[in-house]
Structures are given as C-alpha cells and as structure tokens.
C-alpha cells in the first residue's frame, strides 16, 4: 500500500489579511503531491494547532506580513508544546527581519522563509522535515 501523502496546514493568524504568499505556498505544496489544508484568515494560535492535531498534519506553515510575528509564532510554539504536539514541523514566512528570524529559529521554529525564497526550496524542506516526522510518528 502506498504511503499516504504528507499533510500540511497552511495558516494565517491574527488580523493580517495578506494571503497571496500563503495561497501560492498552498498551491505549490499541493502541486508537489501533498495534502494541503488552508485555514483561511484571522485564525487564533489555538485554532491553528487544533486544526493541525485534528487533521493529523505533519507540518504547519504560518504566513505573517503584519509585523506580529514575534507574538504569534511563540504562541503557536507554546500551544504545540502544551498539547504534546511539538513533533509537528512548524515553519513560516513573511516580512520578517533577519534578526527576528534568527530569534524565532532559536525558539524552535524550524525554518523562516522570507520573500524571494524559491518554491522548490520550501517544497524540499517540507518533504525532508515532514517526511522525517512521518517516519518517527508512523
């Protein structure tokens, strides 16, 4: 039996309505053969983690262009830990200055992709990291 495809939640949080990047990523991951759940806009960190757990997702990709990244990324990290779901690969992107991106990676966000990152780089990251997670969790 063929393994089921990787399942990724693409999320938008807070009040940020910029959804171009999130939609392009969602399309690209789907075209690469993954199952993609797009949360739509204005989700709370709790809702996003809840969706990922319910859907048995391998990864969460969060897109933020409003400047609230230093609030929302850490809240999702905390929520994942509290719910024992920190095996889910959590990554993100948006208008995130380099210093903040470094800080977020230190906190446990697995990758931050800033504008201009080639889609294939994001796809291969997701395939590699979420693939490892799938092997561990089964």
């Amino acid at each position: 039996m063929a393994a089921r495809p990787l399942r990724i939640v693409v999320a938008k949080a807070g009040l940020d309505g910029h959804d171009r990047g999130a939609k392009v990523i969602a399309r690209a991951l789907r075209d690469a053969g993954m199952e993609v759940i797009y949360t739509g806009l204005f989700q709370t960190p709790q809702q996003i983690v809840q969706t990922a757990i319910q859907e048995d997702a391998d990864g969460i990709g969060l897109s933020i262009l409003s400047g609230a990244h230093m609030t929302l990324f850490p809240e999702i990290l905390r929520e994942l830990r509290e719910r024992g779901a920190d095996d889910i690969v959590f990554f993100g992107g948006g208008t995130i200055p380099p210093d903040d991106a470094e800080e977020l990676r230190r906190m446990g966000v697995r990758a931050i992709f800033t504008p201009g990152t080639p889609l294939k780089e994001i796809i291969s990251f997701v395939e590699r990291e979420c693939g490892k997670r799938r092997e561990l969790v089964g």
């Binding site: 392009v24 969602a26 208008t95 504008p115 201009g116």
Partner: protein, 570 residues
Amino acid sequence: MAKMIDRPSGLAAQPTPEFEEQRAAWEAASRKGTPRSGPGAGAIDRTISDVPLKVCYGPEDVAHLDLARDLSWPGQYPYTRGIHPNGYRDRLWTMRQFAGFGTARQTNARYHFLLSQGQTGLSVAFDMPTLMGYDSDAPQARGEVGKCGVAIDSLADMEVLFDGIDMGAITTSMTINGPACIALAQYIAAAEKKGIPRAKLGGTIQADILKEYIAQKEWIFPPRPHMRIIVDMIAFCTEQMPKWNTISISGYHIREAGSTAAQELAFTLADGFAYVEACMAAGLDVDAFAPRLSFFFNAHIDFFEEIAKFRAARRIWARHMREKYGAKNPRSWQLRFHTQTAGCSATAQQPENNIVRVAYEALAAVLGGTQSLHTNSMDEVLALPTEKSVEIALRTQQVLAYETNVTNVVDPLGGSYYVEALTDELERQAESYFAQIAEYGGVIEAIEAGFFQREIAEASYRYQRSIEAKDRIIVGVNAFEKEEEKPEIELLKITDETEREQIEAVRVLRARRDANRVAATLERLKAACRDPKDNVMPHLIECVNAYCTEGEIVEAMVEVFGRYTERSVF
C-alpha cells in the same frame, strides 16, 4: 459648411510603396534573428501580465483607432491623454508619502518631519486592529498594535495625530476601509474642535470595501450593509464636504494580491461602476457625487504596460460615465488617481536595488498622468521604513519632478504605436472582464462566487511559476544573487511598549468619559443602522464626540449588520 477633409480619421497615415518595401525588408531581417536564450528569455514576447507582444509596432497596429474617438487631446473627452489641458505644467502631482506607526504621538512627529521636508499632503497608515475595527486592548489586537501603522482607538488619538497641524491647509488621505465611516467622523470631529468647519476639509478616505472582499481582506460587515454605509458616506460628503474625495477606488491591493494589469484595471473600474450604480439607486444625482470619486492604482515594474493601463483607465471611465450612466458634468467623466509603486516588486535581497525599481515605477506613473504619488522606501519589504529611506523615496519624486523634464510635455507617449496598441488591448481585456462580471449578476455576486479571488490566485501562481522557471528575472532573487547576505541597512523597530502605552490610554479614556452619553449615542447609532432611510454619518459624529471607541462603535454596528466570513479558495 465645413469642408470635408480628405484624410482618414485613424491614427495611421496611408503607407506609401516605399514604406511597404522597408517593412518587407525589416520583416525578412527580423525573421533571421535568433532570440536570445538564458535567464529571462522565456518571457521576451509578453508583458509581465502575459499580454503577447510583437517585436515592433507600426501604423497597422493603430489603424483601427480613431483620433477623435480614442485619443483626443489632454483635458478633452475621453481623456486618454490626461485630464488637465497642460498636464504638469500648471500643477505637479502631489507628493504624498503614506506614513503611520506606533502611537498617534509618534506618527504626529513623523508628519511634522515630512511637512518640513516639502511634502504637500499627509497620508495616514493605520495599524491592523484599527483597520479591522478592534480597540488596542481587544484580544485580537495582541502583537499588532502600532505595527503596520498608527493605532487610533478614539477621537482622543485623532486629536493627538493632528496636533500642531493646520487641518484646513493640508489635505489628508486616510487608508481605511471597513471602519472608514468612523475614521471620517473622527477626522471631522478633530477638525471642528480646532474650529475648522467640515466644509473646509480636503482629502480622501479610501472607503473602498469591494476590493477588501476581492483582495485586501480587511472587512467587517457583509457586502450589502457595507455598501449601504458607503452610500451614506458619499451622500453625506456630497452635501456637507465639497472638498472631500469621498472614496478612493483601489486597484493597488488587487495588484499586490497578485493580479495582472488587466485584472487590476478591470476589477477596480468594475468596483467604481458598482458604487456609481449603488448611489444612483439610492436616488443621488450622478453629477452630484461622481466628480469626487477618485482612484488608486499600482505602478508595477512593466514600464509600458503600466503607462498603457493608466491611459486605458481614463478612457474606459470617461466612456462609461458619459455613455452608460448619463453623466453630463465633464468632471464626472474625468478619472483622477493616486499611484503607489509596487510593494510586491520590491525584494528583501539587496534592498538598495529597490530604490532603482521605485524610480522606474514612479516614472511610469508620471508618464501615465497620475495626480499624486507615493514612492515606496527601499526597506519596506523588511519592516516599516526608516526616516532615511523615506527621505530617499521622496527625493526620487523630486528628481523626477524637477530634473528630468518629463513634466514639460503632456502625455509624451501619446501616438506611440506600441503604447497606443497596448492601451487599446488593455481596454479590450477590461471590457471582456466587465462582461464576465455581468454574467454573475454584478460585483457583489461575483465576490460571493469567489470569481475575483480565483482569478487573482491563478494569476499570482502563474507569475510565481514563471519566476521559478527563470522565464522572468528578479535581480538579486533568481539571478545575480549574493551569497549569505544580511542587509546592512538599519530597520525601524516597534516595541511592545507601544502596545502597553496604547492599552493603558484606552483604559484611562473609558474610565474618564461620560458613560451615559456613550451608551445613548451608541443606541441612536444602532437605530440609524436599522433604518435604511437614515444616514449613519451624523450619528457616528455624535458617537466619536462622546469618545466612544472604535471597537465599541463597530460592535454596535455588528449587532445590526453582522460580521462577514470568507469561504477561502486557493
């Protein structure tokens, strides 16, 4: 009796045999060439919006155009060549830099700086909670206060924002849509507290809710009640604020969301027509309100396509307003617009290159005849701009206005075979979109069906794929990259201190004001919302004067109108 003139009315002269021989020779030589290969070569035969291009344009490409019908002269219907007879000779465009961050006090200081540097109009950027109708202490506002713009919770903040600024002498543009009616009420109240009557206020409020559902996604109420609020605003301003531009119908965000130039053009004008129809349906005379409608477009990096887009926009608007809506006042036919350079064309890599992109985009806006212009700062793709980078952006406009001499002749590209053919092609594509929208039953129905959202998502993905394939090149991104670069430019940081300060201020305000007056004005507002014959604007002015917060006013209105949720498509 007028003498018949013995020449065609078309743009093209009759070709002579000699000219035809030259054409044949060129065509033969052209066919022998080998198109270049390598990066960027995949897209040499089309615009950034995938409009197919010929190698070279000639008289036959414009032969179907009629000089009087399609081009005319500057300041003359259908205004393809501009709305002013003397272009920028009589008056330069307004240099208007969008600014706002942190608290009203911080932004007020930036405004004083910009005015002292020769800027001639203000443009307010609000933060996300303000744009979405939440107070700074709402749980939804966490982490967003003062980040993308200035936090305005009540009239008290608006008063600080314009402290020391003569609101009767400057013009102000406010970029806010969902709660635009509240921001306008606050602006009026702040001015009147300084003794400046509303009739003297000049400026623009964006208030374009249709493009929120289409692209920007900062909505509050569902489309139909939102349209009623906008009609109320337009009716109110038409009667009481003769110098105020009641709405800025915006393609900027549609383009930023990934649309093509033709989609930006078509969807924006379709929104404009929807507002005109809604106001006419409410019994307003088209010539009473149409002269104060204005537009806001993107200036993207495909130079000629953008110029053609601006020219086509004027022509389409004029034709529809005169022919379809029966406007008699020439000012109703004239499309006036603000332009901002394309944020989405800026790159985080080698950010200094953005200065160059902005300069080309600004040139396109000016050759397209814009009435006002915002040039993006090089660092806006990374954070809010610093004072230094804002200054460079403003200087870019000043160099354009005062050094290049492009302002000395009106519509210098008028008559160019290429630009005229492209202008015509964009008009044709826009008309085809209008027909598709009509098939849905109108703009609101097309929004509800997800039509615009799908079209834009499709275009944006197609564009991204062409970048991935290196059919198109973005310097520093998919060609000419530098290894492991970290920008050496300084970035502006908004601290959490702003959020704490703002939350404290709104709590103090709630404790200090007259609670009975707040409750009473909110009740009267709700009653006005329930009565479609009433106008919400005077009631909103009462609410803000009672220092009701934005969040409280929005909650009261949501009780009547409900809140919109989108069915997301990707």
